[in-house]
């Protein structure tokens, strides 16, 4: 692998990181930030890995950390304090996450707000790699772990986790309307061309409201293949990208995980891992909840509205020059059309 290139912006960022971290490692006689390297992806925040090397007394310690910094523009507008709180709340539970260390909402230290967490090293996160050797042979185990962990998130008590106070409250009968109104407003604001499929889907969702949520859960908001760290034995070591976490109907997460746009194996397996019915069965077993087919259908169609809203926002960010990461253009082209196809499939209209 190529070594990180120390360009001027990286050198300045490393220097500012050192200044920020020094008082937070008060026992260290010396502190240096090394091997700062930007990681691709993470369209909602700039993500960097780095090593903080400290020396105190006679010993030296090296910690591998991740910096998540707000960009100028992103696919998803999120509250970093909520994301940070979600990492903290689930750390050490049945839901594996990296340890979140520092949250800084003042833009002064690094130019934008950010947070820092530990790096879980030696694992894979690519949604394409999971369908290839050596990982593909463990698809069934990965599927069991994936939807078991999602069931654990659904089962968890937001109040006991300390997240009920950090996230906007919602009543069981209001979950669906709140989410639909939010994402429809994003489409209204950002669309650059008419969206007849998604507008039809929104009208359908309004005509067929789902039953109230069985319970109010923490909803990860982007639980899918590509947002967790896994190994070649079929184990999952970290659930990442909690930037859209909120309180809501746990079926929202299940539906998102089943959306056809995440069929990375290019067959009918959800998330490239397991048949849809198997994924639902694992989730029901782990969560202790029931995935009512009609309610789940509502949330599956909603997930295509939400997905399309994200791709539309990315297209606007790129087109206006606010964020010209090429992944925004690619996802808008490819995922935007896939999302329309997914909505048509859920509505029973795709041949």
């Amino acid at each position: 692998m190529a070594a990180p290139v120390p360009d001027a912006s990286h050198a300045e960022l490393a220097s500012r990181l050192e200044s920020y971290l020094r008082p937070r490692f008060a026992d260290a006689d010396e502190l240096a930030v090394e091997q700062l390297e930007r990681i691709f992806g993470g369209a909602s925040r700039e993500t960097y890995r780095f090593v903080v090397r400290t020396r105190s007394g006679g010993g030296e310690e090296r910690r591998h950390l991740i910096l998540r910094r707000d960009p100028d523009g992103s696919l998803i507008e999120t509250e970093r304090a909520v994301e940070f709180a979600a990492y903290r709340a689930f750390h050490g539970t049945a839901v594996p996450v990296p340890e979140a260390l520092f949250l800084e909402e003042d833009p002064e230290p690094l130019g934008h707000p950010f947070f820092i967490m530990e790096e879980l090293r030696g694992f894979e996160s690519s949604p394409q790699a999971i369908t290839q050797p050596p990982y593909a042979a463990h698809a069934a185990r990965l599927a069991r772990r994936k939807w078991t962990i999602l069931g654990e998130i659904a089962r968890a008590d937001p109040k006991a986790l300390g997240l009920a106070e950090r996230m906007e409250p919602v009543a069981p009968e209001q979950c669906h309307e709140r989410e639909l109104a939010y994402w429809e407003a994003r489409i209204d604001r950002d669309e650059m061309c008419p969206q007849p499929v998604i507008r039809a889907a929104i009208r359908w969702l309004r005509r067929h409201p789902p039953p109230p949520a069985q319970k109010i859960s923490v909803v990860h908001g982007d639980f899918r293949t590509g947002n967790f760290l896994y190994d070649a034995e079929g184990e999952i070591h970290g659930i990442l990208d909690w930037e859209m976490a909120h309180l809501g109907d746990p079926l929202e997460d299940l539906a998102w995980s089943l959306n056809p746009v995440w069929r990375w194996a290019r067959d009918e397996r959800a998330g490239g891992l397991a048949p849809r019915e198997e994924a639902i069965r694992i989730w029901e077993e782990a969560s202790g909840l029931r995935a009512d087919p009609e309610a789940l259908r509502w949330w599956e169609l909603f997930s295509s509205v939400k997905g399309q809203a994200i791709w539309i926002s990315g297209a606007r960010e790129f087109s206006t020059g606010r964020n010209q990461d090429p992944i925004l253009a690619l996802s808008s082209w490819l995922m935007g059309n896939s999302q329309d196809r997914a909505a048509l499939l859920t509505l029973g209209r795709l041949p």
């Binding site: 390297e37 930007r38 691709f40 009208r203």
Partner: protein, 147 residues
């Protein structure tokens, strides 16, 4: 125009992904690979760009001509007739795209309107709209898509 622009874009994408990207640091390597994929998508779109927009505009005008007789809103019916009589005199992709956006905005209005009508004619128009929405989605599909 030779070499063919589609071929050039495919070659450029391959060069970028297979030869240039591996020489770059990890983040830039990923960016270059994504740009390579974008060029591949542009190559696919280049050849069909005008044709698929013209096909769709023609299909929407035909649908509007049929629907004008079934809708119960006189103003909407008049707009449908007017749109149905339009054409695509400017074949530049940008102009075809602008017309397409106007027609698709009208399609959304028509779809919402007929959903609220109880007549058999409205159901027929609604089915025709769904068929066109499926076709329009398939027209835009790119080979790179996983779904």
């Amino acid at each position: 125009m030779k070499p063919d622009p589609t071929r050039f874009l495919e070659v450029a994408a391959g060069h970028l992904m297979a030869r240039a990207a591996p020489l770059l640091p990890a983040y830039e390597q990923s960016s270059a690979s994504v740009i390579g994929l974008l060029l591949t998508a542009v190559a696919e779109e280049f050849g069909r760009a005008a044709a698929r927009r013209m096909d769709e505009n023609r299909a929407l005008r035909a649908l509007f001509a049929e629907a004008a007789a079934a809708v119960e809103d006189a103003a909407l019916a008049a707009r449908l007739r007017e749109a149905a009589e339009g054409g695509d005199p400017d074949l530049r992709v940008e102009a075809l795209e602008a017309t397409n956006a106007d027609l698709r905005a009208l399609l959304i209005e028509l779809h919402a309107h007929v959903e609220g009508l109880a007549s058999e004619a409205a159901r027929r128009i609604e089915e025709a709209i769904w068929s066109e929405l499926v076709r329009s989605t398939e027209r835009r599909r790119l080979t790179l898509q996983i779904f």
